[in-house]
Amino acid sequence: MTVLVVLLGVAVGLLTMLVFGLLRTHAEILRALDRAGISIDEPTAQGAPAVLGPQPTGPATSGGVVDITGTVPGGGRVKVALDGRHHTLLAFLSSGCRTCQAFWEAFADPGLDVPGIDTRLVIVAQDPAHDSESRLAELAPTGVRIVCSSATWQSLDVPGSPFFVMIDGASRTVIGSGTATGWDQVKGLLDQAVLDSGMEGTRPHGAPSVDDALTAAGIGPGHPSLYPDDPDGDSDEAQS
């Protein structure tokens, strides 16, 4: 009987040590993640691939991405239109996400170079019920539009923050989406997405090409107006 009790005691002791060891390992993993800038306090897009492609397929993308309606941190109501012959970069950020900090800081730079044609940067945060409105108001860079709209997160299937969606205003389509840990990386991916959208035959900014405009004006190959230096209007000679 005594032997059994001793063995049981030893087993309990070993199991206790094992549990403490596991807890310590877990704590070390958490610290390592924290040092790497990965927050585990909220859903995060860290696991999402650092690529940009026409990925979101939520309800808002059928028939074109819908305009963003929401609130301004510490302010009123706002609606942001996504139309126009320009791109719109939606940056889905949170106030508490550690990785997002780099983007809040990058977007405060008034000289920020955003890829695309006349690209407008819009920061989309969660509704005040899901994020700190006062902290968002603090973080909001001057001159950059920020909208709290959880509906937009849902409609574009945003997996977490940070996450980026590039929209072509002319077609109201998503030409790229994804995430990364720094602005330089995101910028590179956006450059690629804009180039790729052009390669697919879609003019990135939705503007007609020079050829389109000339054709619409009735000016085709060989038209005399293309050769103003030719006093006789002899286009053949001018072309040679």
Partner: protein
């Protein structure tokens, strides 16, 4: 398809492609458009709780004046900017606000280049004052092109009809 914004008894059904911001401002009187402090529209809240609505068919910059300075400079010939500004409720008995109800049938000859708070080449503006529900309001509209007013004014009226003041 439209999205409705509502604040303090003022609502607007914003059509697709149009932008809007509905908030409050704190100036004692919406008379100037001084942007010297570089404030954002979104910070204009609290105080006397006077409503300020901006509507535009172009991208509204976040930093702009009550009468659209900072935004009107970005307008092209097809652009429209509309500002609805609430005044002190005590002003409602002033003769200036004698008209009852938001004007929704502006005419092309209501607009002229001298009607702008800040004159910009090619643009035209119009301003009206009225009262609704015991509240005093000013309406200020800028057309990106005076020459295209025949096309733009009906568009303005279409938007004005989407605004409700309860």
């Amino acid at each position: 398809m439209s999205d409705e914004l509502t604040l303090d008894g003022v609502s607007v059904a914003v059509p697709r492609g149009w932008e809007a911001e509905l908030g409050y401002f704190t100036q004692p009187h919406p008379e100037s458009d001084d942007m010297a402090d570089g404030r954002s529209f979104s910070t204009l809240h609290g105080g006397g709780k006077r409503v300020l609505l901006h509507l535009a068919n172009f991208a509204l910059p976040t930093v702009r004046g009550d009468y659209g300075s900072g935004a009107v400079e970005m307008m092209d010939g097809g652009s429209v900017f509309i500002a609805l500004l609430e005044w002190d409720r005590a002003s409602v008995d002033d003769k200036l606000f004698a008209r009852v109800g938001l004007p929704t049938e502006l005419r092309t000859d209501d607009f002229n280049p001298n009607g702008l708070q800040r004159r910009l080449p090619g643009q035209a503006g119009a301003q009206r004052f009225f009262q609704s529900g015991g509240r005093a309001f000013g309406l200020y509209v800028v057309l990106g092109s005076y020459r295209r007013r025949d096309v733009l004014v009906p568009e303005v009226n279409r938007l004005l009809r989407t605004i409700r003041i309860d």
